[in-house]
Amino acid sequence: MGDVKCAFIVQKPQYKGETSRLAMTHALAYQTVEILLEDGDTVTPSLCFIGEGVLGITKGQKAMDIYGITSSESHLKNCLLVDLDVYVCKEDLDKFGISVDQLPDAEEMGAEKTINVVPFSEIAKKMDEAKHVLFF
């Protein structure tokens, strides 16, 4: 069956609910899914943040210090480190007054990928291209 593309669309903010964080941890599992699949089969999620989903993914989070939980920033960096494609909606960043330089990268961890800030039309294209669309 080869590769199955999935669009993981995060539309809820981080931290109050669990669903938005689970988008990242589930996406990270793409690394190990091959142990349950036939040779050559893969699952490739694109992780996309839209609407209020762009809230809670900026740099400098202190969730571990304050609540003793892994920060969403840390999960996001791990996603970049394992070469996941991460997209953040530009219109929504603009709407909430979040600048691109507030978004984290994982360069210090050795990640080659960075967050792609794109118009919503690009994210809609990812949804069209995917076999399955999952809203978190």
Binding site: Q11, A124, D128, V133, F135
Partner: protein, 98 residues
Amino acid sequence: MSLGVFVSDYKLSSDTLERLDPGKTGVILVLNGVWHALLKESGKASSLLDRFSKVYALSEDIETRGMLPAQVDGRVKVVNYDGLVDVVFNEFEKIAWL
């Protein structure tokens, strides 16, 4: 049609819904989403019914709320759980829950 979107709230999730291409998207109303098919708020039906041409509503969730399928807006097709399974497999290429 490409994407069938489950709407399970009356007010919530409209933000995302408004951004989806109505030419490629249909709507499946379940749980509190069925109010979109039933209410005429200030005399006006839900704008969702104007925007999307393919809309389904789950009869069990209509009846659970003390309403009748006969009260549903004429643009909405009412299905039961069995029918909903067919909608999911036959009417859309992919499905999503908002």
